[in-house]
Subunit: 280 residues, 2 copies
C-alpha cells in the first residue's frame, strides 16, 4: 500500500494526480467543497457543500455528505472517469454507458487529495444465515419445518419465478415453501400465492403454501389465511445453531457463500432427500 497526500493542491495539480490515479487503478479520496449534477435514470442536482469523493480501483465513484449511510451521488463500477482542473475548479465527470448516466462533481475548493495505490484485498467475505443457507439447511432437515415433510427440490424454476422449497407432506400433498429471513410482509404472501396459483393452474392440483419466516406482519397474516395459506415461524438463532452443530459434527460443509474464494455449493441441486429422521 502506497499512500500519497496532497494538502490544498491547485485544481490543476489535483486533476493531474487524479488522472494518474485513475489510469493506475488506485483509490483516490478528494476532500473539499463541491456541487454535483446527475443525469441518467433520474436527474438530480446538489448544491454546494463539504463532501468526500471516493474513486475506487474499478472506477466506482461515491460522493458522500458528512452524514448518512448512503452516498448522495454515485456511479457504479462500469464508469469512465475524467478529471479536469482549470482556474475555475476541479471537475470530475463519471460516465456510464448502459444505462447512459452522467455524474459531474465540481469542486471549487479542494482541501485534500489522498491517493492510495496497491491496496490488496483478496479476503473472503463469509455471510452466515442468508436465505441460501437457510434453504439448504431446511432442504436437508425438513423436519425442522414440519414433521413428515419431504423436500424434493430447491429453488425450483417455474414460469412465475422460483420456488424456494418444493416437496410433499406426510399425507402425500404437494407443498410449496416460500422462505423469508426477515419479517414477512404482504409482498411475501403475494409471491407465495403466485406459485400456488401456478401449480393449481398448471398441474390441476392445489398444493399447500407455507410461508416460513421469523415473523409476519398482522396484515400479511390476515391475507395469508384469507388465501388459504399457512405460516410457519422459524427461529434464525435455532437454525444457526443447527448449522453450527452440523459443521462441528463433520457432516457436509455448510460454509456459507463466499464472495471471493471457494464457493460452498455442495452440488446436490437435483438430489432427492429420501430419509426422514424423526429426531425432532
Amino acid at each position: 500500500m502506497r499512500v500519497k497526500v496532497l494538502g490544498k493542491p491547485s485544481f490543476q495539480e489535483a486533476a493531474e494526480a487524479l488522472k494518474r490515479s485513475i489510469a493506475e487503478h488506485m483509490v483516490a479520496i478528494v476532500v473539499g467543497r463541491c456541487t454535483a449534477r446527475y443525469q441518467g435514470r433520474s436527474t438530480s442536482s446538489l448544491g454546494e457543500g463539504d463532501r468526500l469523493l471516493i474513486i475506487k480501483e474499478d472506477g466506482s465513484v461515491l460522493l458522500h455528505r458528512p452524514s448518512g449511510y448512503s452516498p448522495v451521488n454515485w456511479q457504479p463500477s462500469t464508469s469512465i472517469i475524467e478529471a479536469i482542473g482549470d482556474s475555475e475548479g476541479l471537475r470530475i465527470k463519471a460516465v456510464r454507458s448502459r444505462p447512459r448516466e452522467i455524474l459531474e462533481v465540481h469542486f471549487n475548493h479542494v482541501e485534500m487529495l489522498v491517493l492510495i495505490g496497491g491496496m490488496v484485498d483478496d479476503a473472503e467475505f463469509i455471510e452466515y444465515m442468508d436465505e441460501h443457507l437457510i434453504r439448504d439447511l431446511l432442504a436437508e432437515e425438513p423436519w425442522l419445518l414440519e414433521k413428515g415433510l419431504r423436500i424434493t427440490e430447491k429453488e425450483k424454476a417455474v414460469r412465475n419465478g422460483y420456488i424456494d422449497l418444493y416437496g410433499v407432506d406426510s399425507k402425500g400433498k404437494p407443498v410449496i415453501v416460500e422462505l423469508k429471513r426477515v419479517r414477512a410482509s404482504r409482498e411475501a404472501v403475494i409471491q407465495l400465492k403466485r406459485y400456488v396459483d401456478y401449480f393449481s393452474g398448471e398441474l390441476g392440483v392445489k398444493p399447500r403454501g407455507i410461508l416460513a419466516a421469523p415473523s409476519i406482519s398482522s396484515d400479511a397474516l390476515r391475507l395469508l389465511s384469507t388465501l388459504g395459506l399457512e405460516y410457519k415461524k422459524i427461529s434464525l438463532r435455532r437454525l444457526y445453531k443447527r448449522v453450527w452443530e452440523r459443521r462441528k459434527g463433520g457432516l457436509e460443509a455448510y460454509e456459507g457463500k463466499g464472495t471471493t474464494g471457494a464457493a460452498a455449493d455442495n452440488g446436490n441441486k437435483g438430489r432427492k432427500y429420501s430419509e426422514e429422521k424423526r429426531g425432532g
Copy 2:
C-alpha cells in the same frame, strides 16, 4: 473545514485521535489492513485486507473494499462507537441497539488516519422525475396519459395498498393507473391487478387498469393482456420537458422533493382536478 492527517500512527495514537473525532462529531477515515466481524440481522466475517473505514459525523460507519459500490460492512447512524488501541492493533466497535447489531473492525496495520472537522453541508439535494413528481404532473395534465381522462385522486389509499392515480375516462368508466418510473416487470402488473380486483370486489364495478411506464418486459405485457389490463408507454424525457415548461411558465412550483431545505409539497393532496383541457 479542518483536516488533520496522521501517517502510520501507532494503534494507541490512532485510537486516541478517533475517540476525539467521534466525541467531536468529526469525520474520520482510516486507511489500513483489517479484518471485520458483524453480528445482528445477519452474521458475517471478513478476512484480512486493505480497506477504507469511514466514520461520519452522525456515527455512520462504512467499511469499503478497494472496489465496488457498496460497503462490505457498515453500521447506520444510530450506532455507538468505541475505539481501542493496544499493542495488538486498533479495534473499532460500532454497536446499534435497535435492532441489536455489532460491527467490529480490527486493524493490524494503520497506514493513515484522516480527521476532518467542521464539514458544512446544508445544500439542498433536488431530485427530478421521481415517481412522486411524475404522478403530480399526470394528475394535473391527465391528457398526457389519455385524451378525456379525468383524475380525481392521487395515491388513493385502499385496503390493498395505494393506487397511484384514480379517475374516470371519457366514457365515464373508472380508471386505475399504476405508475412505474422504470421498466415495468411482472410485479407491477400484479400490483395493478390487485387494485383492480379490489375495486371489482368492493364496488362491484370492474375499472380499467392502466400500467403507465417507459417500457415493459414482454412477459409482463403478455400477463397484462391475459388479465385484460392495458399498457400506456410514457416518455420520461417528454414529461421532464413538460415539467420544465410549466416551471418556466410560472405555473405552480414543480420543484421536486428536497431532502434538505424547503420541501415542495404544493399541498393539493385532496384537490379535485375539474378542468380537462383537450390541448393534446
